[in-house]
């Protein structure tokens, strides 16, 4: 019975996906359309060109580099904080762990605009405004609570017997952590890293407030924002830049979908 009736579900599914992804298609369409034809709104790039991408690359190269540095910096910084803490939290009694979990959820609920206002004042005093380390630190505040929660829930599920066996063999806590717990948490570490990277890469709020005067040392979101803010908005190069800046998203979906799926539910649905 099921086999007979599924083809139309697939067809409907395809249709819904096409509708959902239409804006993404539109971005790619405009990115490949030459300047003269952009306003005609053709359904496919009738007057095809790669000029927009050439423009985008020549304008945006430095920002892409900065974005990469910042995003990798955030990944490393986030893991340095989150990995040991997550392991430490697994030792706490159930209540303590839950309290920390709650605090981390609250931390995720604080609006970025509030954080950036506070950071602005502090960075202003200690001279971290318009700097890459400053932006790494600010961006990491989005990723750290998520990473700690994700890693804690994974590490808490690890078989205790494994750790106890290692301790009987004379391993101390640090060795258990670095040689057993971390390697076994590989999948969760990948998920946490992917999201840390993506969020840092996508950040607009902190970049536009804490790094507004950074010149070349600004991330790609600011490079794109320059196009948007320009007097004469050039949609071709703008969309080409948007396509280039979407590459990490595409990679995550194509190469790492199972890690992504693990991450979406982690923050919201417990266990």
């Amino acid at each position: 019975m099921q086999h007979r009736s599924t083809w139309w579900k697939t067809a409907l599914g395809l249709l819904l996906t096409l509708i959902m992804l239409f804006p993404v298609y539109w971005m790619i369409n405009v990115a490949f359309t030459s300047r003269s034809a952009i306003r005609s709104g053709d359904l496919y790039p009738k007057s095809f060109t790669v000029e927009n991408f050439q423009r985008a690359f020549s304008d945006q190269m430095p920002y892409l580099g900065t974005s990469l540095i910042i995003a990798f910096g955030v990944v490393v910084f986030t893991l340095l904080i989150a990995l040991p803490s997550a392991y430490g939290i697994t030792f706490l009694p159930r209540r303590g762990g839950k309290t920390i979990n709650f605090l981390l959820i609250v931390a995720q609920m604080i609006p970025a605009v509030v954080m950036s206002l506070g950071f602005y004042q502090i960075f202003n005093e200690i001279g971290l405004l318009d700097s890459i380390p400053g932006l790494i630190v600010a961006d990491s505040t989005v990723a750290v609570p998520f990473a700690v929660m994700l890693l804690t829930s994974f590490m808490a599920g690890m078989p205790r017997s494994l750790i106890e066996a290692a301790e009987i063999d004379g391993a101390n806590k640090w060795m258990v952590f670095s040689r057993i717990v971390v390697p076994l948490s590989r999948n969760s570490i990948v998920t946490a890293s992917l999201f840390s990277f993506l969020w840092a890469w996508s950040d607009f709020m902190f970049a536009s407030t804490l790094d507004a005067g950074g010149g070349m040392l600004r991330p790609i979101t600011m490079g794109l924002y320059d196009y948007i803010g320009a007097q004469n908005q050039e949609w071709g190069p703008m969309m080409a830049t948007a396509v280039i800046a979407s590459v990490p998203t595409a990679l995550m979906l194509v190469v790492a979908q199972k890690y992504v799926a693990a991450g979406v539910t982690a923050g919201a649905v417990k266990d």
């Binding site: 599924t6 804006p23 939290i89 609250v106 609006p111 630190v137 948007a242 995550m252 979406v264």
Partner: protein
């Protein structure tokens, strides 16, 4: 590498020699020390990078900061004066109403569409997993890129929205201006939030026992009855958490609105208002730190209230 091995083997010797001594007291305290040691980075991190900016924000809302006093650092303490001013201004109430419209409509539609899609994709037809994966794109795309795309699609002269409407003889709509702007950002934000709802509700559906549906089918329930009497009630805890998180996440949205309309027209929300006042952007050409931090504090309070509702919902689910 060698040094790690050496120090590790050194520790090895130490722990094994200690293991010969009476265990109980040493072990308890070593665990305690380990917990402190391992969680110290997080504690320090939270203190410096969460608590400090928050306190800074709240403190600014009690001092009258201007461009000058921001630099000289002698902003006078004025108590709740700025709160009174902000709450007395008509802007505050308009913005609050717009924020609520934006947030509530966004999450209702995100949830309804997300749930319909989750039920649909839960039927496991050919390609369902692949298509479900494709639905994640709007959620993973940097929001400012989505904003840029929607801005172009809603362009009054050459946007695809007006082109399609034009085919049906509808006059061009100025999507991003005036009273339309709130609807424009709501539409874009619904699109943005569907994947999150879809994935969470889908995982909730996966946890529902299939036998229940079979039993209901045998009893002669149709698809709609099965949804209404089995799926929906059993999804209630997941629904609760999805809506709560959706509310809080939508409340703090800035980037998509900012890219599309700069908070102009009716699309200004508390979050974009705080953003424009704090950094002198868009409609606020003058920087107003104190007013911005008052609005920020209001946002923190709303977030805190919902955090406790979340806690309560989770507790209830467990019992």
């Amino acid at each position: 590498m060698t040094s790690t091995v050496a120090s590790a083997s050194g520790m090895d010797a130490r722990t094994s020699s200690r293991a010969e001594h009476p265990k109980r007291r040493g072990r308890i305290s070593s665990t305690t020390w380990a917990v402190i040691g391992f969680t110290a980075p997080l504690a320090i991190y939270m203190a410096i990078f969460y608590i400090a900016p928050l306190i800074q924000n709240i403190s600014m809302s009690f001092h009258r900061f201007t461009r000058r006093t921001f630099i000289t650092g002698d902003a006078p303490f004025v108590g709740l004066d700025i709160y009174k001013e902000v709450i007395a201004s008509p802007d505050f109430w308009t913005t609050l109403a717009q924020t609520m419209t934006f947030t509530v409509l966004s999450i209702i539609f995100q949830y309804a569409i997300g749930l319909a899609l989750a039920v649909f994709f839960n039927q496991n037809f050919k390609l369902s997993a692949v298509l479900r994966g494709a639905f994640l794109v709007p959620w993973l795309l940097p929001p400012m890129i989505s904003g840029t795309i929607w801005q172009w699609m809603m362009d009054a002269d050459s946007g695809v929205f007006n082109k399609v409407l034009g085919l049906f003889g509808v006059d061009p709509i100025w999507w991003l201006q005036g009273t339309n702007s709130l609807w424009a950002v709501i539409i874009a934000n619904i699109w943005l939030g569907i994947p999150f709802n879809l994935v969470i509700l889908y995982s909730g559906l996966q946890n529902i026992n299939v036998d229940l549906y079979e039993a209901a089918s045998l009893d002669g329930c149709n698809a709609w009855q099965r949804f209404w009497h089995i799926t929906f009630p059993l999804l209630r805890p997941v629904t609760m958490i999805t809506l709560l998180l959706g509310f809080v996440y939508t409340l703090k949205v800035v980037d998509i609105i900012w890219i599309m309309t700069k908070g102009g027209g009716t699309s200004r929300t508390l979050a974009t208002w705080a953003y424009e006042m704090a950094f002198g952007k868009g409609n606020s050409s003058v920087i107003r730190y104190s007013e911005a931090s008052v609005v920020g504090t209001v946002l923190i309070i709303i977030a805190l209230v919902f955090a406790f509702v979340y806690l309560w919902a989770q507790r209830k689910e467990e019992n």
